[in-house]
Amino acid sequence: MQTEQELEKFIASVAQTFRAKVPPGNREAVWLKISAHLREARLMKPTEQQSWTRWPFFLRSAWGKAGAVILTVLVAISLVGGVAKATPGQTLYPVKRAAERVEKVLTPGEEAKVKVTIKHAKRRLSEVQTLVAENGQQTMVQQTLTDLTNTTQDAIAASESKPQLKNQIVDIVTHEEKILADVQDQTEGEIKAAVGKALLLTQKSLNKLTTEDNNVEGASTAALENETQSAAQATSTAGLVKSKTSGKTSSKDGKIESRLQIDEVITIGENNNPIPEP
């Protein structure tokens, strides 16, 4: 076996041996079950009268519905163009924030609301970056950091009963940590201190998210203890992964555990391939 390509071909052929041992699944029988469920779901679909009972009371009347349509259009218009790009201190910024509040109210379903909250947290983060880059006023930066923190905590709290959103929450908090660390390096004085506080809170949230035992249906959890002082400065394209982590997964009743150990320094080149260690 001379080259890695030849080895990969060999592995693929061995893999075929394994796959051949799997007894074939009954595709049609499984689909019959699924389509029976789809049929039931269609028959059980709530009537228009019933479906409206899920909406807030003020939306149940015709006037309420018309008002909701107008508000939705206003929200849609206000979230594009100049309003969408408005940052704290600009004239249109209060319109943007008001539109976000309306958007959240009009969004049906708890899961969708959490996703909207995550979206708003991303916007606050972007606003912090913009304010720092443009040397924004200290009070505005601090207020935006507070809004960011509050929005993120809202998303985390609301997602506790929605394990399917956990990865998205972890992603946004991880991203937040990275951005705040970068911003902290670019700032001084009281703004730096304020960013540092927000960063600390983000790191605590991230630790809690990744170490907390969850026993929610349909979810598995992974716990990571980051031993580095600052956030792991990992990039997916080029850079050096400096973190050293060890992992533990467990459920509340202690019945499922795993240990993952990763302690490698990986240098990834510009073409996204690892650079061999000397």
């Binding site: 041992k21 595709r27 349909g218 394209t237 996204n272």
Partner: protein, 186 residues
Amino acid sequence: MTDGSKKNTNLDELVRKAAQGQEAAFSELYDLYFDKIYRFVYFRVNHREQAQDLVSETFIKVWGRLRDMEDFSSFNSWLFQIARNLVIDYYRTKKIQVDLNLLENVLIYEDDLVNRTDVSLQEKIFLEALKKLNPDQQVVIKLKFIEDLENAEIAKILDKTEGAVRVIQHRAIKELKNLLSNQDAN
């Protein structure tokens, strides 16, 4: 448009239609993914009927959540994550203590295969060499080659980035090459 990107666009379109409630599109998605999902589940529960039940639950759950999906391009990885979580729930309800790492590393036939007489000597040597890799490397090789999953799907299952999966695979192949070369030399 390349074949790859055309295929992705067709898949995104299918997912979009299924998310809009079109059962015909959902049925096409089922046809596309049944084999992979069934094999994925079967390797972890080692029981045909149970695997079929879990596959049907997976697709039923997917149908229920499709309309909330925002990024259709991550459908594959999302589908596998749902299947994986259902397997974990299956073990929970059976009150079986399972090491999650083992669950990822499971390959029911592995030990049995090493002792089978119809497995070639080279294949046995490969299986022995595979066991010498670290757990992450073993899992990635198995998911990639034996279960025929894409890097994005593997990343989602293992809760890692695609970049990390590529690095692990690269190192695993390199390590296997060294192990098998040493074996040849001996």
